[in-house]
């Protein structure tokens, strides 16, 4: 659960990742480039967020889910 803080809010890195897939789907490779984060960390975070239902996988790409959008709005 590395993408959620102890107070139930998204971590900074998880927020950045969710915001990046908010409007369009992205592959882990493109996200790593865009966010300047190592690819292994992007893959790991996406797996975590996918298991928690915050992102959806469409073929090789990811996009924010309805649940993820709600969480992002709650964090603002």
């Amino acid at each position: 659960m590395s993408c959620i803080n102890s107070d139930g809010k998204l971590t900074q890195s998880a927020t950045a990742l969710l915001e990046a897939v908010q409007n369009d789907k992205h592959t882990p490779e493109s996200l790593a480039k865009e966010l300047g984060v190592p690819l292994f960390k992007v893959r790991s975070s996406l797996r975590d967020m996918s298991s928690m239902g915050f992102v959806e996988q469409i073929e090789d790409a990811y996009v924010v889910s309805e649940g993820g959008k709600k969480l992002l709005n709650k964090n603002k």
Binding site: S2, C3, E29, P38, L39, F40, K41, R43, S44, S45, R47, D48
Partner: protein, 220 residues
């Protein structure tokens, strides 16, 4: 002694050069990571005996110092010891506070020794509770390309780890080998010819410097 024998029976042979790197999913200081998360990058998977120990602290600082150089070689660092993730976090914070170095690479918390056993990192006759100073160089296709082992008492040499990865990548890229003490920019070894015709061609090739038909070097 009984305990020692029991552990020796459980140790799986370490992966050898050319083997597929054993897959794992592990808790780390950067969350849960799988080996497959690193596909496409080279990985230096290394173990250390224990957190909050002096030799390991010098090694971790030295690994951190070469992280940028490794990244330029498309290579990520991944540490491991038989400690909890909370111990790792406390140690990382301590190194930053006391020594001013931020350790930015993930460290596997291998409390149940799952990864250590898969990679043969425990030397039972040296210690049954700590991992030795092992280094596995894993390439971007997740194949083991090199294995280095150091005992508990001896810290590793970062220049050699960098040199090794540069040599492996040079060999891959140019289909050559590298001589003893080779450094980037120096002449490389041309693979020995497999036929008489190749031997003749190689020794008459002006771009190649040959001592004899089997021993030729060239500048890349």
């Amino acid at each position: 002694m009984e305990n020692n024998i029991e552990i020796q029976e459980n140790v799986v042979s370490l992966p050898r050069i050319g083997d597929k790197a054993p897959s794992f999913e592990a808790e780390t200081t950067h969350g849960t990571l799988k080996l497959e998360d690193f596909r496409g990058s080279w990985v230096v998977l290394f173990s250390h005996p224990a957190d909050f120990t002096p030799v390991c602290t010098t090694e971790f600082i030295a690994f951190q110092e070469i992280q940028d150089d490794l990244r330029e070689l498309n290579t990520e660092l991944l540490g491991l010891s038989v400690d909890s993730v909370h111990s790792h976090i406390a140690w990382v914070r301590n190194v930053k506070e006391k020594l001013g170095v931020e350790l930015k690479f993930p460290i596997i918390a291998d409390l149940n020794k799952d990864v250590a056993k898969k990679y043969g990192m425990i030397m039972p006759n040296e210690s049954t509770t700590e991992t030795s100073r092992a280094v596995f160089v894993i390439d971007d296709k997740q194949t083991v390309r090199s294995v280095i082992y150091y005992p508990l008492s001896t810290g590793r040499n970062m220049d050699e780890i960098l040199r090794l990865i540069k040599a492996l990548q040079t060999s891959d890229q140019h289909s050559v080998a590298t001589p003893a003490n080779w450094l980037p920019g120096e002449k490389v070894i041309v693979p020995p010819p497999k036929t008489q015709e190749e031997a003749e061609e190689q020794i008459n090739d002006d771009s190649i410097e040959c001592k004899d038909w089997y021993f030729c070097k060239k500048q890349l």
